[in-house]
């Protein structure tokens, strides 16, 4: 009786070990490639906002983590683009909390002069066919932010038309665009008030010089 239990336990442990070994081996084999994929993803997203030729530093390494309610709270990564050491733009990964179905993760690129370089949705759970017009693949709406700034339109017009603002909503979906417009506006406000801090922190970062 006891013998059987021990044998069963040993067998189970053996299978556990075999399974763990298999997973560990595959992990070893794929780790480098997965990491490279992840980096390529980030870079591709950044390049959709800020063309490659506009900066000359290693943008994925020249990052700083900031925390502020205007950026959606929590620690947010900011990628800094520089050319000859001078700030070109900052790309904020922010979260819009006011979505129709959970948080909307955005990348908001702001040029050094405060104009929007571009905005892209990284992750959302909005209704397909209604709220998903915020994706660059589905409609051009998100490109409407390009080149805008806090003065253009005036700050009180940074809202969807339904709220008396300057940005279109979608047919059947006001909440999603509203959340995105407000998140972009808040990012611009944060950038205006903390510009030096955004670019100055972490000066010892090795990525900056390269």
């Amino acid at each position: 009786m006891i013998r059987n239990v021990v044998i069963s336990a040993l067998l189970l442990a053996l299978f556990g070990l075999t399974g763990a070994a298999l997973v560990a081996a595959v992990h070893q084999g794929t780790q480098a490639r997965i990491e490279a994929n992840r980096k390529a993803d980030t870079l591709e997203r950044l390049h959709a906002i800020l063309p490659e030729g506009e900066y000359d530093n290693a943008i994925t390494q020249d990052t700083v983590r900031l925390s502020h309610p205007l950026l959606g709270g929590g620690e947010r990564t900011v990628y800094r683009a520089r050319r000859d050491g001078r700030p070109v733009a900052a790309v904020f990964s922010v979260v819009a909390h006011g979505g129709y179905a959970g948080d909307i993760k955005l990348l908001v690129g702001v040029r050094a002069d405060g104009r929007v370089a571009g905005v892209r949705v990284v992750e959302h759970h909005e209704t397909p066919g209604l709220g998903d017009g915020i994706e660059a693949d589905k409609s051009d709406w998100i490109r409407g932010f390009d080149g805008r700034s806090l003065g253009d339109p005036p700050r009180e017009d940074w809202a969807v038309r339904r709220d008396g603002g300057d940005f279109d909503q979608f047919t059947g979906a006001t909440i999603t665009p509203r959340a995105v417009v407000e998140a972009v506006r808040d990012t611009l406000i944060y950038f205006r008030d903390h510009r030096d801090q955004v670019f100055a922190q972490n000066r010892q970062n090795p990525g900056e010089a390269s």
Partner: protein
Amino acid sequence: MSTRSYRRIVADGFWYNNPGLVQLLGLCPLLAISGTVVNALGLGLATTLTLVASNLSVSAIRNWVRPEIRIPVYVLIIASVVTAIELAMNAYFHELYLILGIFIPLIVTNCAIIGRAEAFASKNSMPRALVDALAMGLGFTAVLVALGGLREALGQGTLFAQAHLMFGDMARGLTLTLVEDYRGFLLAVLPPGAFIGLGLLLALKNAVDEHLERRAARRRTAMAEQPQT
């Protein structure tokens, strides 16, 4: 223990005992990932791969794993296999991996897999278990793709959209646009569309079965009426 012919195993997987249409197992991924053909195919093939690996391992160890610990052992095998597949997809089909997301690790919970391990692989030789896994997996994939095609065609007016996620850049031209400037049919894209579509597929299968049954019955009566010599 009856040993079914290979032919019968294959027919079971694709039709008479299809995991999607007859056993109604694995409905969660079936309904969630059948929005487009490419997503459906990706998840279907990942599930098939898992089935093959788990059926083979379970069949290989069937004579020396004690009955009382067989279920935890199956779970261990399936979980390790799925984790390995998840890592491999993340590395080699990264964009597809991002779209399928949580549904790849969730293959672990697809009852069709542990069901085949317990009901078939644990009682049959490895070649049989392999054929069963392929038949069941591809049968499941076929239902996924059929549902995906139905929903994609109705919902977006295309077929094989984003085929490059699976077959590389060469496949970009594969996308068929069925209707130019299609405005989209939201119901087909949303979850209710998955339920309705699966219902239609089930009805279609039952209608075909009924038709075949009736024809077989007619043939039997015709045979019986023939004069005996």
